[in-house]
Symmetry: C2
Subunit: 294 residues, 2 copies
């Protein structure tokens, strides 16, 4: 074990992922479903050790974690930093019982007005800034709660959250629309639906049940309904976030699938977004935080 050995952790609500690092390089990876929401109070250290036990030695190894693990319901609260601020890097040293780790959790970022918060995304944004220190534009991080963040001069200036991913999940699996959903996808229906709510966001309220009725009355396919639901929600999101993309460079940070969907959506407003892999950027952001410590 050298001073280049450390452990990077991305600990969200649903998943726990860890990487054995040597400097900037991940040499091993492990993950589990022990997300913040699945771990009982007082059991966080045990959940982490169960995953990384095999990587530990008899000297304390630095662990740097980001995400919901730093929330009030997580292992240890890492207070928010308020915008405008440098994105990522602020951390708290967390007391632990096992002496083979030296635990650190990164702070999330808050915005007083309009009230908004993020935990985890600030580290991906830090990764983007680490790769491109002169980045000036908007980072869009699609997910359950999509974040849109204005970045300039190395700082996170302001941001907003859209619950589009969670809405799609609730409506497609928990509402009457679940009866109309297929497994597949219709790319044209997706693009058309984006245009509808982008130009007339108020139409979302009546367009939803229309998906159900189109299936009942006209035998509209489940693939069309699924793609339209996604497109209607995404078009409404773009309408709400116009100040974030209009005239801006937009970089996407997410999974390949979500990046592709948002890239297609943004192409409708003439924006050619650049896509970054979310895992690569969280690692870059965790590495930047680790480097700043050493």
């Amino acid at each position: 074990m050298t001073d280049q050995d450390w452990i990077a952790v991305d600990w969200g609500t649903s998943n726990l992922r860890a990487w054995r690092m040597q400097g900037s390089n991940a040499v091993a990876e492990a993950s589990s479903d022990q997300g913040m929401g699945a771990v009982a109070p007082g059991r966080f250290e045990a959940a982490l050790l169960a995953l990384i036990e095999g990587w530990l030695e008899d000297r304390p190894m630095t662990v740097v974690a980001c995400g919901m693990v730093g929330s009030r319901q997580g292992w240890h609260e890492a207070p928010y930093r308020a915008v405008p601020c440098v994105s990522g890097g602020a951390m708290v040293r967390v007391p632990q019982t096992d002496e083979r780790i030296a635990m650190h959790i990164l702070s999330g970022v808050s915005q007083a007005k309009p009230a908004d918060v993020m935990r985890g995304e600030e580290t991906q944004i830090a990764g983007l800034i680490a790769l491109e220190p002169d980045f000036d534009g908007v980072a869009c991080l699609p997910g359950t709660h999509t974040k849109w963040a204005k970045i300039s001069a190395g700082e996170l200036c302001h941001f907003r959250t859209a619950m589009t991913g969670e809405m799609f999940h609730l409506l497609s699996t928990g509402s009457v629309l679940r009866h109309s959903m297929g497994e597949g996808w219709d790319a044209e229906a997706f693009m058309d639906a984006i245009g509808e709510t982008l130009s007339r966001p108020e139409r979302l309220a009546t367009a939803l049940f229309n998906l159900r009725a189109d299936g009942l009355l006209h035998g509209a396919s489940g693939d069309v309904a699924r793609a339209r639901l996604s497109g209607l929600l995404l078009g409404a999101e773009l309408a709400a976030l116009k100040p974030y993309w209009l005239g801006e460079r937009v970089d996407l940070i997410g999974t390949p699938g979500l990046n592709a969907a948002y890239m297609a959506a943004l192409s409708q407003v003439g924006i050619e977004a650049k896509a970054h892999d979310g895992t690569e950027l969280v690692l870059a952001g965790l590495t930047a935080a680790w480097k700043a410590m050493t």
Copy 2:
């Protein structure tokens, strides 16, 4: 038993309600949780008999039912009538095995474009028209899926559905916002929130997560969050349904609580809506259908 004896049934997705009728008067009432969604195929007659057994005699008694019981997943499909049409009254005679009942189910109403459907509400609208044959205006039937219907010259002309009630349920109990919800209500926050999305419907997309962040950062009360969530959704509904209320007489048909919420919302756009009890009107509509048979 006279030819004035019959049974009225309102059989929706979640509930089954029946009334023992003498002409236009309900003389007994019974209900159960055996809504259409809870009854297995082939078990509808048994579910009904379990509720009304005590009212039956040895001659067949007319039963008139409305609601989801007439859907493809219900007891027997009662085909939709397409708008424009007389609301309610169209029915199918349903084969049953027990000779003490003569079973009828009322048709729902469909609209080809924009695709939309209703089952049950057409009977409440028929009740409104039975009470006021010259009604010219809009009926708004708030519920899980709120219906807005234009009525003129005794006909249902066109209608739209907003899933506002279902969205409120999903978001307040199944999304991250559930952590921010109180049990109470803040009437001022409700009215303010309506105004926000009524004038700027695109704001709904970012206003939702804002409720969560306001609680986390500023300790906003759960009662405010709950009322604001309802108001934001209702404001967006009013924005979408503007062609249905602008310059129209609007009558509400629902429960006292929902009627009051919609009445407050409509007062923001200068509309003094008249409220009708949903149960009274479904009985009036079922009675009108029964009278037309006899």
